[in-house]
Amino acid sequence: MNVIEVENIVKRYGDRLAVDGVSLTVEEGEIFAILGPNGAGKTTTVESIAGLRTPDSGTIRVHGLDPHHDRHKVRELVGVQLQESQLPDRIRVSEAVELYASFYPHPADGAALIGGLGLSDQRRTAFGKLSGGQKQRLSIALALVGNPRIAILDELTTGLDPQARRDTWDLIEAVRDRGVTIVLVTHFMEEAERLADRLALIDAGRVVALDTPAGIVGLVDAEQRLRFRPSRPFDTSILTDLAEVTNVSRTGATLTVSGSGNLVPAVTSVLARHRIEANDFRIEQAGLDDAFIALTGRPLAS
């Protein structure tokens, strides 16, 4: 069942076309990522879904409701964590959660939420004294305190250290496991690859691809690469003779074999037949990064 349906929305700021005909659907219970470089229109798209902006044209339905017309109802259904939204420095964690709980008709249990997000020790800590990771967890708490059906999380892990980022990812999966549909906005390829059931790749206000992470990577007919250290020297023509192999190169003791199709089984079986052991065997596969470059002609991180 689609809980979010976005059809051909366009949003213009002055001369700048921020969103140029974005369409997408989000299914109930999935983690849906919107991935793209900064300024691609990701935030404008989710802010339109949340009813914070009204697109110039196109339609949006959230559980069948129009976020602009039925904004009150949509705001009860959708919890939002906005990029760079802070709180007053002196508000304490428990006060912020209780305050936000009072905004909703059927709020979650604030204390349980704080505990579940690992903030029990910070209950009485002022917002200004929290670490970056703790602030983000409080942000998630505020997005969830209304018991939303959908949570929109915008650039949740930007600015976090790698450990805090991984902890946040676990947390997002735990939230999804409770039945909340999650729309995740990110410019981290790794984040989308790790969390998303499906994702929309957005560039310059348009959806350039929408599929599972594997499906998007599969759109790109990318070369595969193997690297290994052979146990003894051998004539590399036994590899270049294979149909799957396009190139073999050597750097010191390491061989790099590129090719396509069933490259891995073809190479490993030839090596086995010649009793050559492949040490430190590594497979390099195309990722979302490569897919993004192939689809847009430039790298995601820029």
Binding site: A50, L52, H72, R75, E76, V78, G79, V80, L82, E84, S85, Q86, L87, P88, R90, I91, E95, E98, L99, Y100, S102, F103, Y104, P105, L142, G146
Partner: protein, 244 residues
């Protein structure tokens, strides 16, 4: 607890956690009055001002200290800070209306200003036998309208200032003018006539408060001007308020 009550109590707690603003609003007018009274001789009638005691004429100007500090300095600065940090924007993602934050801020600042007035009156009465306002109804009207006009100007600044830096740049000239014309920096009887005349009609209308304190009904024109400023600045602030 309704969300309105919750916003109000939470904002009140946050306000109380910054004792500086509370001290300025509640105590500074009385402290300045006591200081002046202790340095000069408040009990001697002064022939230069018609044989009156200067302290009796000075006391309405002390009200200006808290009204200007709260209404056009700290309250707008806090609201602009809320916008700048995304506090208003975050709240606008919820079913609750972020306008409630503004309502709560105005309510809290009004309460503190009234508290500061009461402390000033009691302190002046105890220390220097300054009588309570003779025309109490006139005084309450002059105070409320003067406060409304100043607070509305403060809200207008908060509505349009895109950043804290711009807000500060807008606030300071207004603040200094209000304090000067209100007789805080120099007693009004030492100000040039033109400044006194202007001060009669600019917020918070200190002459109207003085008249009422001394038992003369305040003139209607300054009160009407305060009401007009309140409506005009307040309505413009509501119309122009930037939530992000």
């Amino acid at each position: 607890m309704s969300f309105q009550t919750k916003v109000l109590t939470t904002e009140a707690k946050l306000f109380a956690r910054e004792p500086g603003t509370l001290i300025v609003g509640m105590l500074l007018p009385a402290v300045v009055l006591l200081g002046i009274g202790l340095i000069f001789s408040p009990h001697l009638p002064d022939p230069a001002i018609g044989g009156k005691r200067f302290i009796d004429l000075l006391v309405p100007s002390m009200v200006v200290i808290s009204l200007a500090s709260l209404g056009i300095s700290t309250m707008p600065a806090r609201l602009v800070g809320y916008r700048e940090k995304g506090v208003l924007r975050r709240m606008s993602t919820t079913p609750a209306d972020p306008a409630m934050l503004l309502v709560a801020q105005v309510a809290i600042n009004v309460l503190v200003a009234v508290g500061g007035l009461v402390v000033l009156m009691v302190a002046g009465n105890l220390a220097f036998q300054i009588p309570f306002p003779a025309d109490l109804v006139g005084f309450v009207a002059a105070f409320m309208l003067g406060m409304s006009a100043l607070f509305s100007i403060g809200l207008l600044v908060a509505a349009v200032a895109p950043s804290s830096a711009v807000a500060t740049a807008l606030i300071w000239p207004i603040f200094v003018a209000v304090m000067f014309l209100g007789g805080v920096y120099l007693p009004r009887w030492l100000l040039p006539d033109i400044a006194v005349r202007i001060g009669d009609f600019t917020p918070p209308g200190v002459q109207a408060m003085l008249d009422a304190w001394q038992g003369t009904s305040p003139q209607l024109l300054p009160l009407a001007i305060m009401a007009l400023i309140t409506v005009a600045a307040g309505a413009t602030a509501v119309k122009l308020f930037r939530w992000e």
